[in-house]
């Protein structure tokens, strides 16, 4: 089944650690949090039966800003959202635009104090003369209210555009990365951060490579990885030095001389990097492929999957219309056995690592039907043409699936398709994936 929401272009999607909450950020600076309904109707939970996601809270995270020094606008678009591990009844998430990271506290209130001495029911100050006796206010149940408050604002840490944030497994720190630098923050301290990577050259005209994504290792709090526009991955160990400009390991695939073109570098630029849940592998996305890397092997990926190889002959047109610069995300499933990434024409791809096979799916819903069933699609690239195949030239390049998330434990995926959010749930067992 699928549900849609949001009136603005969704720019990030993220489940929390239990998967009960799903947050989306959009171009307008808003965050919408969905909550999974539990079996509140009193029915016993059937095998595979899972609740729907409904809107839990909506708030304005970032507002458009203006940098007076440089006479430039700062977009309010939410680039990334990351949840903190839950420690008490409240939920915390980090949201960031190009420049400022904010920590939000999401809490529920279902009781309210009643019976104040000095205030009346509406909160107006009472006339003292009418107060004849003292009483203790009591907590009375009330309708559930979700409150979202900003708890920290981490500003002025970045000169360039923030592309990633990642919460550390230590539960106390997180990193934020922009085009040239990676900073580490303590969640409680907003007036300073540690710069742990700086690739800005002394002379900006010598700049040939930028940071595209960064992430902390899921278990080792001293390790993090960052990817670059030249297709390299650098694993850094913070124990080695304060400034991790020197990497511990560098992962790079040697260039294929047969496929060399003027676009080789652009299509090798890594748009997203994700550690596997196990912490043993890395998943990267470049323009035409997704690759799985083993942390123990630096000389190349252990698996490569073609996302849309048929675009290789169209690179010039895609360069002209800027599509070649689209940044697709990639995700692991809960057991690290399946990987998923987006493509064009509202298509997205899933690859089964055990069989090596990939499938193309479409995020689409007939407007008359409230629910959609995932359809397998095919792009026609030669050979026998089947019914339903889509020709390469009929692909709609404005319908990009850039952002997505996979539930941490179950086969539930959230796909952002421009303004719409699709949540697909596997109602049968996971075997058919």
């Amino acid at each position: 089944n699928a549900s849609s929401g949001a009136t603005d272009v969704i720019s990030t999607v993220e489940f929390n650690q239990t998967g009960d909450l799903l947050a989306t950020g959009d171009k307008g600076g808003r965050v919408v949090i969905f909550q999974r309904e539990t079996e509140s109707k009193g029915e016993s939970e059937e095998l595979g039966e899972s609740g729907e996601y409904n809107v839990y809270s909506t708030f304005q995270s970032h507002e458009p800003d203006f940098d007076y020094l440089k006479s430039l606008e700062i977009e309010e678009k939410i680039n990334k959202i990351r949840w903190l591990p839950q420690q008490n009844a409240a939920h915390f998430l980090l949201s960031t635009n190009d420049k400022t990271i904010k920590l939000w506290k999401v809490s529920e209130r279902d009781k309210r104090p009643e019976g104040y001495n000095l205030k009346d029911e509406e909160g107006r100050i009472k006339d003292i003369s009418t107060v004849t006796s003292l009483r203790v206010p009591v907590l009375k149940p009330t309708d559930l209210m979700v409150e979202v408050r900003p708890r920290r604002i981490f500003a002025n840490g970045h000169t360039y555009h923030v592309n990633s944030i990642s919460v550390n497994s230590d539960g106390e720190t997180y990193l934020s990365a922009d085009d040239l630098r990676v900073n580490m923050w303590h969640l409680d301290i907003t007036d300073r951060s540690f710069n742990i990577v700086d690739i800005k050259p002394a002379n900006m005209e010598d700049l040939t490579e930028v940071i595209t994504a960064a992430e902390f290792h899921p278990q080792h709090c001293h390790l993090f990885v960052y990817s670059s526009s030249k297709g390299t991955l650098r694993l850094c160990d913070m124990r080695e030095s304060a400034l991790c400009d020197k990497h511990s390991k560098i992962f790079e695939e040697p260039e294929d001389p047969g496929n060399r073109s003027f676009f080789s570098e652009i299509i090798s630029s890594v748009s997203d990097v994700k550690f596997s849940h196990s912490g043993r592998y890395l998943l990267t996305r470049d323009y035409l492929t997704v690759k799985v890397w083993d942390l123990n092997m630096e000389k190349g990926p252990v698996e490569t999957y073609q996302v849309h190889e048929y675009l290789r002959s169209k690179l010039c047109s895609l360069y002209e219309n800027d599509c070649i610069f689209d940044k697709f995300e990639c995700v692991w499933n809960s057991t690290d056995s399946v990987i998923m990434t987006g493509a064009y024409n509202s298509f997205f791809r899933m690859f089964d690592r055990e069989t090596g096979r990939g499938v193309t799916l479409e995020a689409w819903r007939e407007s008359s039907k409230p629910r959609a069933v995932l359809r397998t699609r095919r792009v026609y690239t030669g050979g026998r043409r089947r019914r339903g195949d889509v020709g390469v030239d009929s692909l709609d390049f404005t319908k990009k699936i850039l952002h997505m998330a996979w539930h941490p434990a179950e086969n539930i995926i959230a796909i952002a398709a421009t303004n719409n959010l699709y949540i697909f749930q596997d109602r049968v067992n996971a075997e058919n994936l």
């Binding site: 002379n203 496929n259 003027f262 010039c316 800027d322």
Partner: protein
């Protein structure tokens, strides 16, 4: 499409090809044509850096690297040489000439791989020409001129985040001097678009308007000779122009292309005398 070594089918099957090298030449020229158009496309993409929102640094870097790659290949091919020979060619688009010239200027300085950028540290060879040239009134403005400073702009695009207001003025200053290809073209794009009027004033202020400089069109003088000059004096006072009838900075402003953001290449009227002089200087610099 652009991968080197890809052979293309020669589709003109009717003609009998006696000379095999002819086929090869056509293949090669088609490749270099495509390469050239890719270069032009890339330069235009970099040109659109002046937006309200800070440009995407990753995209700019990738495009700049692509341009560098093409330029390197063209240098090895010897195509750069061909482009510079056609410096005064009428049919050639200004961007090619100007880009080529920059490269040559630079490669003379160092033997390392020729850098297309760092116009900021650009040698004074251009500066001298501009200041020395007295036919400033013949300044014509086009969008293509930005291509010259494009290279500089790449640095600027990235620099934008780092620059303070003061630095930007300085850059605009430099650009205005460098803004001449074969013509004395003011880099108005940088001066007029995102910067304050004060900076624009500064940009134009670098040009010395000499009263003694010969008017490009003496008919213009005649036209205004019988006009009551008192009005012009008032005008001068208000607009800060030094001399009224001559083309001053604000006249140049009027003749600006309307939209600085449109990338269309406008053909520029040429100043033949400037061209020859510049060409001469270029030859000296390049040491040909």
């Amino acid at each position: 499409m652009f991968s080197k070594g890809t052979k293309r089918k020669f589709s003109d099957g009717d003609e009998e090809i006696s000379d095999e090298s002819l086929v090869g030449a056509r293949v090669a020229s088609s490749y270099s044509l495509q390469r050239q158009s890719l270069l032009d496309m890339s330069l235009i993409k970099l040109q659109l850096c002046h937006m309200l929102v800070e440009p995407n640094l990753c995209r700019s870097v990738l495009i700049a690297n692509t341009v560098r790659q093409i330029q390197e290949e063209m240098t090895h091919d010897g195509s750069w040489h061909m482009v510079t020979e056609a410096f005064c060619g009428p049919g050639q688009s200004p961007s090619e000439r100007l880009v080529a010239t920059e490269v040559l200027c630079r490669s003379r300085e160092q033997d390392a791989e020729p850098k297309l950028f760092s116009v900021i540290s650009y040698e004074g060879c251009r500066e001298e020409e501009v200041v020395a040239d007295e036919t400033l009134c013949s300044v014509s403005v086009s969008d293509t001129v930005s291509n010259v400073c494009l290279a500089g702009r790449i640095g600027q695009c990235w620099e934008k985040s780092e620059l303070s207001g003061v630095e930007r003025d300085e850059e605009a200053l430099e650009d205005s001097r460098l803004g001449s290809g074969e013509d004395e073209e003011i880099d108005t794009e940088d001066g007029a678009s995102t910067e304050s009027p004060k900076t624009t004033g500064q940009v134009f202020g670098t040009f010395e308007i000499k009263n003694s400089s010969p008017a490009p069109d003496s008919a213009l003088e005649e036209l205004f000779s019988d006009v009551d000059t008192s009005y012009y004096d008032l005008d001068t006072m208000l607009t800060g122009m030094q001399s009224a009838p001559k083309m001053g900075p604000y006249d140049i402003l009027d003749s600006l292309a309307p939209s600085h953001s449109s990338p269309s290449i406008v053909s520029t009227p040429k100043c033949r005398s400037d061209l020859n002089e510049l060409d001469h200087i270029m030859e000296i610099i390049v040491g040909s």
